[in-house]
């Protein structure tokens, strides 16, 4: 199992470490639901060293990436970030990723478990393009600070005005006396915050310094368990759940990350995905479950005892005060408020279709 540079720091903090995407990662430091609340109400710091980090250099980098990812890379301004997908020739996703357009190169941030497959995919399609692909995962690390207090906490560790970095933009600042450090206003929690890119050898010092600076404002280390609940409440897809080799971007509601624009040209999986989108009869929905048991991946979804879908993610939601999940259901059962059931080994438990996202810090939650 691979270890991030912060592995021993997590162990010293009392974290429970588990295998995740080939890495030994903290799933929690304390009760998961308390960690969720901490990020929603104050701020949390996350080790994201396991995420794959790749740079693409060369004069053809933008046209290359436009030929292999779903979003329109040539339209991303310098300093901006977009969510995108790698698709196979069959149109189904290989991974989802963030694309950072820097004047010098394009940075890709990919899922830990898919890093190897993504690199193979990049190299497979690079022929004929003047590009260099550099896997930076092992030489760098990544820390996120997320939550309503995140900006204030980070600002006190930085020498430039972080409020000037807009949502899904990135910039550079001295962070905890490390000069020229890249920060992006991104995250996977539904809260405001930043992801910070560091040289591997600076990871521990910056983590410890930020924890110290943030402690008076309630900053705590947060594990991947809470991160999963936070992203689910915020309605964000997770590869292997809402997206998979059998669940494509259009039925997952990710149209915003898929460009069929003629100017973009063809890209791997384009026509196949378009056809999948036209023929798909199911759609991703949110569900709530009032009983004791949260939805869990794989539970059949029933309407009048007949299977009409499947749960793909689930969690207790401390923010909503109920159990939540996502499910793929046939479109006729996808309207918010539709009463369905989930099959708990032969016992049917009621669930209710709920709009996604469950939680938005900028929008009032919609009632179903």
């Amino acid at each position: 199992m691979k270890q991030t540079t912060l592995h021993d720091t997590h162990a010293a903090l009392g974290a429970r470490l588990v295998e995740f995407g080939g890495w030994h990662m903290p799933v929690q430091y304390g009760p998961i639901l308390e960690e969720v609340k901490c990020v929603r109400e104050r701020a949390g710091i996350f080790d994201l060293g396991h995420m794959g980090r790749v740079r693409v250099f060369g004069p053809d980098r933008v046209s290359f990436l436009d030929s292999i990812t779903s979003n329109f890379v040539a339209r991303i301004p310098d300093g901006a970030i977009r969510y995108s997908l790698f698709c196979g020739r069959d149109g189904y996703p290989i991974d989802d990723l963030l694309v950072y357009v820097d004047p010098e190169y394009v940075r890709l941030v990919i899922n830990a478990a898919n890093t190897e497959a993504d690199l193979a995919f990049l190299h497979e399609h690079a022929e004929g393009f003047n590009v260099t692909i550099e896997d930076r995962t092992d030489r760098t690390t990544m820390i996120a600070v997320q939550g309503p207090e995140a900006l204030e906490i980070l600002q006190s560790a930085c020498d430039s005005d972080l409020s000037k970095i807009g949502y899904y933009r990135f910039g550079r600042s001295t962070v905890c006396s490390i000069p020229n450090t890249l920060l992006s206003r991104t995250g996977y929690t539904g809260e405001d915050g930043f992801e910070i890119y560091l040289r591997e050898e600076d990871g521990v010092d910056v983590w410890n310094a930020l924890l110290e600076i943030g402690r008076p404002r309630g900053l705590q280390p947060i594990g991947l368990g809470a991160r999963d609940t936070l992203r689910l409440e915020a309605g964000m897809a997770l590869y292997g759940h809402e997206l998979s080799p059998a669940h494509h971007a259009l039925e997952a509601g990710l149209d915003f990350a898929v460009s069929f624009a003629e100017e973009k040209g063809d890209w791997v999986g384009r026509d196949a995905l378009k056809a999948l989108g036209e023929s798909s009869t199911r759609t991703l929905v949110g569900v709530t479950a009032e009983g004791k048991r949260p939805p869990r991946m794989g539970y059949p979804v029933l309407a009048d005892g007949v299977q009409v879908g499947e749960i793909r993610s689930g969690s207790i939601s401390p923010t909503l005060g109920t159990n939540i999940g996502t499910a793929y259901v046939e479109q006729e059962f996808s309207a918010p408020g539709t009463e369905l059931a989930m099959d708990l080994r032969g016992k049917a438990a009621p669930i209710l279709v709920h709009p996604l996202p469950f939680y938005s810090r900028t929008r009032k939650p919609k009632k179903s």
Partner: protein
Amino acid sequence: MRPDDRQYLSSHEWVKIEDDTATIGITDFAVDELCSGNEGDLVYCDLPELGRQVEAGETFGEIESVKAVSDLNSPVAGEIVEVNPDIEDHLEILSDDPWDRGWLIRVKVGKGDGASLLDATAYEELIAEKA
């Protein structure tokens, strides 16, 4: 050392057989795997109806934490004759006392092959490999 008056399944259930009655529970290791020392992380325990027949190794219920659901497997074959009525509303019993008050079910041992059971020493070795 875990109690040596009983036997264990590699899936972390224990069974204590007295006369023809088997008392079945889960080990402290199982509880800790589920809730990581945070007893509030246990959310649900689904126990069977009285009178149900189970085979050795068969799943008789489920226990759920914030993170995951785990099967509860019977170490012996027989008829379920008693279910601990306190567990459903007091999951903290499993953290406080998994060996005694935290028993889950009692089975009247019937005919049929037993599951492959470990004694306390072998179970300790299994746990040591995981740690």
